[in-house]
């Protein structure tokens, strides 16, 4: 009887540890919905565009969201604006230089002010933002929504969980050596960024 109790407790402990283990969420979206939106003020009209080439992984533990780490990658080539001339300029070596700097990345290192309400966690995520060959430490307010068992609703025949990440923040292009001190009358130095992405963790 005593042995059975010990085994039961050991199994329960193991199960709880396994449940508490962080999950790895892959942000390469097969449905192509993930996007990052950017907006820059300009005299005639603001320049609005988006990027769909998003990938990366995030380690998230719903029992301990404060331990979240991960890296999100945006392909510069996937940045699109509706005006073809602006699109060409944006990718050229005059601006983002997509050939030389093909990726924009954010690597999350630590979380602060973590608040969880149900399946929603908000936090200030500190990490390294890399753009145009320049890496800079940033703290970004992020909202995590953990959707347990919802992967199958999105991708049939797959079981697992989803993690939705939303973030809105502003960067200054001059901090990343993008035409520093130039064209400020034509293109605002500040860029509004808005990220809305979903990652999948397939059940083993």
């Amino acid at each position: 009887m005593k042995n059975k109790l010990i085994i039961t407790i050991a199994l329960a402990t193991f199960a709880s540890l396994a449940y508490a283990a962080p999950q790895s969420f892959d942000f390469k979206d097969p449905k192509g919905v993930n996007n990052a939106v950017f907006k820059l003020d300009a005299p005639l009209e603001s320049i609005n565009g988006s990027a769909s080439g998003i990938s990366g992984t995030v380690s998230f533990d719903p029992e301990n969201p404060a331990a979240t780490t991960g890296k999100i990658v945006v392909s510069v080539e996937s940045l699109t604006v509706p005006n073809p001339m602006q699109n060409g300029h944006m990718h050229s070596d005059k601006w983002l230089d997509a050939a030389k700097y093909p990726e924009i990345t954010f690597e999350a290192k630590s979380l602060a002010n973590v608040k969880t309400d149900g399946n929603v966690t908000t936090a200030d995520v500190s990490g390294t933002f890399s753009l145009h060959g320049v890496a800079k430490d940033l703290t970004v307010p992020v909202k995590f929504t953990y959707l347990k068992g919802k992967l199958g609703d999105r991708v049939p025949n797959l079981k697992g969980d989803l993690l939705v990440i939303r973030a809105n923040f502003i960067i200054n292009r001059e901090d990343f050596n993008i035409n520093k001190g130039q064209y400020e009358d034509k293109v605002s130095p500040t860029i509004d960024l808005s990220l809305a992405i979903a990652g999948a963790s397939i059940a083993q």
């Binding site: 449905k31 192509g32 919905v33 993930n34 996007n35 939106v37 005639l44 009209e45 609005n48 988006s50 769909s52 699109t80 509706p82 005006n83 073809p84 001339m85 602006q86 929504t145 959707l147 919802k150 609703d153 999105r154 989803l162 939705v164 809305a196 992405i197 979903a198």
Partner: protein, 88 residues
């Protein structure tokens, strides 16, 4: 020739103006695609795709105005056709 160039100038500005008005009178830059948002019901994320659509802007109007000006300007280098009278 002078009259032909002047008519062509008027035609260019009329076609450009009508096209600009008919496609929504976009007061921004010319666009060759428009963003279309599609809500993903599971995640609540608005997916963005681009559909090809020509939407002329003020640069299109400016180019048409320039073309009209050039045609009208060139027409000034041609003389008016002489009126031939047969007074006998």
């Amino acid at each position: 020739m002078k009259r032909t160039l002047q008519l062509l100038a008027v035609l260019v500005v009329l076609v450009a103006g009508t096209t600009w008005l008919a496609t929504g009178a976009n007061r921004g830059w010319t666009k060759t695609s428009v963003a279309v948002k599609t809500l993903d019901p599971v995640t609540g994320i608005d997916g963005i795709t681009y559909q090809k659509k020509f939407q002329p802007g003020v640069d299109f109007l400016a180019a048409a105005a320039l073309g009209t000006g050039l045609l009208a300007g060139v027409s000034l280098f041609f003389r008016n056709q002489k009126q031939t009278t047969n007074d006998k």
